[in-house]
Symmetry: C2
Subunit: 339 residues, 2 copies
Amino acid sequence: MSPNRLNRRFALVRRPEGMPVAADFQLLEEPLPPLADGQFLLRNHYASLDPAMRGWMDDRPSYVPPIQLGDPVRALTVGMVVESRNPDYPVGQWACGMNAIEDYSLGGPGRFTNCVDPDAVLSVTNYLSAVGTVGFTAYFALLEGGEPKAGETVLVTGAAGAVGSLVGQIAKMKGCRTIGIAGGPAKCDRLLRDYGYDAAIDYRGKSPEELTEAIRAAAPDGVDVHFENVGGEILDAGLLALNQRARVVICGLISQYNSDPYPTRNLWQLIVKGARMQGFILTHYVPRIGEAIPVLADWVKQGKLRVDEHIEEGIENALPAFLRLFDGTNQGKMILKIA
Amino acid sequence: MSPNRLNRRFALVRRPEGMPVAADFQLLEEPLPPLADGQFLLRNHYASLDPAMRGWMDDRPSYVPPIQLGDPVRALTVGMVVESRNPDYPVGQWACGMNAIEDYSLGGPGRFTNCVDPDAVLSVTNYLSAVGTVGFTAYFALLEGGEPKAGETVLVTGAAGAVGSLVGQIAKMKGCRTIGIAGGPAKCDRLLRDYGYDAAIDYRGKSPEELTEAIRAAAPDGVDVHFENVGGEILDAGLLALNQRARVVICGLISQYNSDPYPTRNLWQLIVKGARMQGFILTHYVPRIGEAIPVLADWVKQGKLRVDEHIEEGIENALPAFLRLFDGTNQGKMILKIA
């Protein structure tokens, strides 16, 4: 490796309060350490930007340790091995793993990095979308957490989002009637046109009562599976439309990642409906990801599963690209092109 | 039947706002109609008083229709058949069913009434407690909703209550470590002395943060099953102490039956723990009650399951007896002795 090769790293230098701002981060340039035996160097081409990353920036106990101040922001990346002292990861091999927003990541023992085959998908970026964490999340959260059955009604919030758009399509493949909730007419158009939803509801400008009414109108037979990506008033409204024995999947609560938790008022509906609310975290399904990869890759390659990727370019644009997840201006899975 | 026999009926005449008051009810005296073919007359000896009855007094859609104004308050009762035109329910037969707080209930086609055997239990009132709805609730909600495994920690709120005291004992029989939360030192003493809890927490005078700390101190390995009878701040505090893959059973939210729903703030814990929240309603388990009856009756008769019954006398005392469920002055399953 060239000793003067520099690694640009998008580092967290201050814990954000609420929505992250530029002063919370710094683009460091650091020399790369020499490879130890068993290590390899991955040139990151793309990084996945996900709402969960906001939680990792806080200094509170969670399912993964907080990002340490001064460390680069943790992210799933896909890239190519450019130097290697590990025969399982030869130079030229594509690999995907939990790394960070940086030009180069070190791989090797104790790191989670898997070799991937670009020819099994339409684009190598698919390993950050439909055949990556959002795809695995949609697949396991819907099928295991929601247990949808043919003929049932599945409601998805954040339905035009990276996870939601896949959930709607998978539910449809399982023979369900699908209703999507999203913000604004453009997203609602995409629900019907691109993701095959049977009905679309624009939550903007609606009071919680109006939202409940809209759900009831779109789901006259009630909702059997409520797939929640947003939380807040939308979840509260949806709880009132549940059928007996309904399943609520709590996959994300993006409306409150930058604020105090929203107070949910309608939990009593779980009792009167005998309904279940299943929190979903992908780490519990890591041992089963091997089941999902060939299924999802096949759906993508055959065109059965449409995946929209919103790719922004340049590591220097990491923050504005990340913030699109929260202002709703992203159009598909947010991905940062690093090289 | 004597044509001049009068039936005293504890009728709902106005929908309560918040806590029920005397003017919401009236003790009617009505003549009994003659029996049609297939009908029988049950002399009610005892009526079960349950928190769920408060919900039936409201005029809102739920899992059972609201009590109509002018109708007696719906209740599970146990009594003896005193007149019969139904060979399956001969005079002298004890029976238990969903009837009302009244001297006599009509049984027959379309009514839910089962013959019961007083010799299979310690007292016929057990069919309103450990071998009645609270027993079935504790049994199915804990075992099916909570799926406790030997060695796990089970936290029960309302732990000295009718359901909670049974839940703690059943969890103990399944090999779990049990922690009970109740209000006041007297109830906490009973948790340890009478119901075999391994630890007791008095929620009174504790802030939500202090309650979370107390739970963490009593459950250093975390909570695997959270059995909720109370709701509100206690549930919020408990959500912070859950283990990965924990199961929360929402069996009752008695803290809010007479008020607006409490806003739950810590639902995000379900995501980071990959935890499940299962609402419990007994109606979904009615087809399986036959499994539970012999098990519960056997536990009671053998003294393995202690059941405390708080019996108040006289139909004219129905309201004050019912209100004891909400001010916490009942000591065991509330039962009203009618005859």
